[in-house]
Amino acid sequence: MPEPKQPEKLIDDKGIRIDGRRLDQLRPIKLEVGILDKADGSAYIEQGKNKILVGVYGPREAHPKHIALPDRAVLRCRYRMAPFSVDERKNPAPSRREMELSKVIRESLESVVLTDLYPRTTIDVFIEVLQSDGGSRCAGITAASLALADAGIPMRELVAACAVGKIQGHMVLDLSDAEDKYGEADLPVAWVPNANLVTLLQMDGILTTNEFEKGLTMALDACKTIHGMQQEALKKKYLVIKEVAEEREETEVVA
C-alpha cells in the first residue's frame, strides 16, 4: 500500500478537519478491560484508527534476579508496533523510537504505581500496537494504566493521556496520523488528575508560548474526559456481572 498523499488542506474553510472533526474534538474512543485470559491484567483501546492491546503481568519474581530492587518493585514497559500496524511493513526489530516510547511510558506510569508495596519484584507492561494512527503513545498510556488497575496493582490513580498539535496555524486536539505527519507541531501530554501531575510532556515542532499554553489547556481538558471514560470502563466489567447475576436472581424469585 502506497504512502497516503499529503492532503491539500488539513483544515477546510469551515474549520473542519480531514476526518470531519472540529479543532477541539477527540476521536471516538473505545475502552475495554480484562480481555486477555492469561495476563494478570489487560486492556484494549481504540482511538480513531488506533488499535492497542496491553497486557500486564505481576507483581512477579524478578528475572534476571539482579534487576530486583530491595525496596520496591521494578516497573518494566515494552511498547511495540506490530509489523502490520502501519502502511509499509514495519521491521519487527525494536527500533530507536519504540525504545524511547517504552521509556517515557514507563516513567509516566511509575509515578502512580505504589511500587514500594512489592519489594524485589517486577511488574511487566506490554503495549502492543496492532494498528497505528498517530497518538499511539498517548493511547498506550491510557490503556496501560487501565490494564495495571485491572491487574489489581495498587496505584494512586489512573493516568490519562492525549496529544495536541498545530496544523495550519491552529491548535488542534488529538492528532491523527496525517495531521501529525503534515502538521507543524505535536505535543503529547499525560496527566494524573487528583495529584495534578503532568507525567509525560514531549514536543515535536515549534510552538509559541501562547500556543503552548493554549494547547496544554486543551490537552488537560481532553485528559479529564478520557479519565472519566477509563473509570467507567474499569467498573463496567464488574457492574455487568453484578447486573446479570442479580437480575437472574430476581427472575428466579418471580418464577
Binding site: E61, P70, P154
Partner: protein, 237 residues
C-alpha cells in the same frame, strides 16, 4: 468526617472515598485529609475505618497463612515451592515431620517436583523470601481430592462473614473444603459429582464475589444440582 463515595459500591483507583478524620484501611491512601482508593474494589466503611476490598490481585504472603503450593524444585536441604506469590517459598527439610538430624535419603521421596503441598507460612518479611512448614495437623502432601485455583483476592468472600459462605458450601455439598489464603482451595467429596458441584460453586463465588445475595444464589444452584449434602444425609440415616 464525610464519606464521599457510596459504601458497598465498586470504586476505581484514585477515586475519592472520604474526607476528614478516618482510619486508613487496606488499599486506600491519604493526601492531606482526603482518602482515596488505591485499587479496583468494593468500598467498606466500618465505623471510622475506610477499606477497599480488592476485586482483583495476587497473593501477598503473611506469617501464619495456610497456603497450597506446588513443588518446583528439590534441593539438598529442602524444597522450593510455588505458592502463587511474587516470591519463591522455601520448605526446609527440618520443617517436615519425622526424625531430626541429617537425612541420608533423597528428599524427593517425601515430596517430588509437581506435588501439591498444604503448608503454613512460618516466616516472611520484605527482605526475606517466605519460609514454609508442613508440621501441623492436616499439613503435608495433597494426594486426593480436587484442587481449585482462584484469585487470592476472592478468598475473603469465599470464607464469608464469620465463615458463613464456606460453612454453607461444606454443608450443602457434603464436601470437606480447605481454603488456602493464596487462592488454592482443596475439595474432598464423597463422590465425584459432589466435588464437581463444590468446584462449580467455588468458581461462582470467584466470578460474582461483588454481587448481593450471593450466598442464597449459590445455595439454590447446589440444590438444583441434586447432590446430597450433609443435611440430607443425616435425614436419611
Amino acid at each position: 468526617m464525610v464519606i464521599v463515595a457510596e459504601p458497598k459500591q465498586v470504586v476505581a483507583p484514585g477515586e475519592l472515598l472520604a474526607e476528614g478524620e478516618h482510619v486508613l484501611g487496606d488499599n486506600s491512601f491519604k493526601v492531606g485529609t482526603r482518602i482515596y482508593s488505591a485499587c479496583i474494589g468494593i468500598l467498606e466503611v466500618d465505623g471510622n475505618r475506610v477499606t477497599v476490598v480488592p476485586l482483583k490481585g495476587g497473593y501477598f504472603p503473611r506469617v501464619g497463612d495456610l497456603v497450597g503450593g506446588r513443588i518446583v524444585d528439590v534441593g539438598l536441604s529442602g524444597w522450593t515451592v510455588d505458592i502463587r506469590a511474587p516470591y519463591e517459598a522455601m520448605l526446609p527439610a527440618s520443617e517436615t515431620p519425622g526424625p531430626r538430624g541429617p537425612r541420608r535419603r533423597d528428599l524427593s521421596e517425601s515430596f517430588d517436583v509437581g506435588d501439591m503441598v498444604l503448608s503454613q507460612v512460618l516466616a516472611f518479611d520484605r527482605t526475606r523470601d517466605p519460609l514454609l512448614t508442613v508440621k501441623g495437623p492436616g499439613l503435608g502432601k495433597i494426594s486426593t481430592g480436587r484442587v481449585v485455583e482462584i484469585s487470592a483476592a476472592k478468598i475473603p468472600r469465599l470464607i464469608g462473614r464469620k465463615g458463613s459462605m464456606i460453612s454453607m458450601l461444606k454443608r450443602e455439598t457434603g464436601c470437606q473444603i480447605t481454603v488456602g489464603q493464596n487462592g488454592v482451595v482443596m475439595v474432598w467429596g464423597k463422590s465425584p459429582e459432589n466435588e464437581r458441584v463444590a468446584v462449580e460453586a467455588i468458581y461462582m463465588v470467584e466470578r460474582e464475589a461483588h454481587t448481593r445475595g450471593l450466598t442464597d444464589r449459590i445455595r439454590e444452584m447446589i440444590a438444583k444440582s441434586n447432590v446430597v449434602g450433609e443435611v440430607a444425609r443425616t435425614q436419611t440415616a
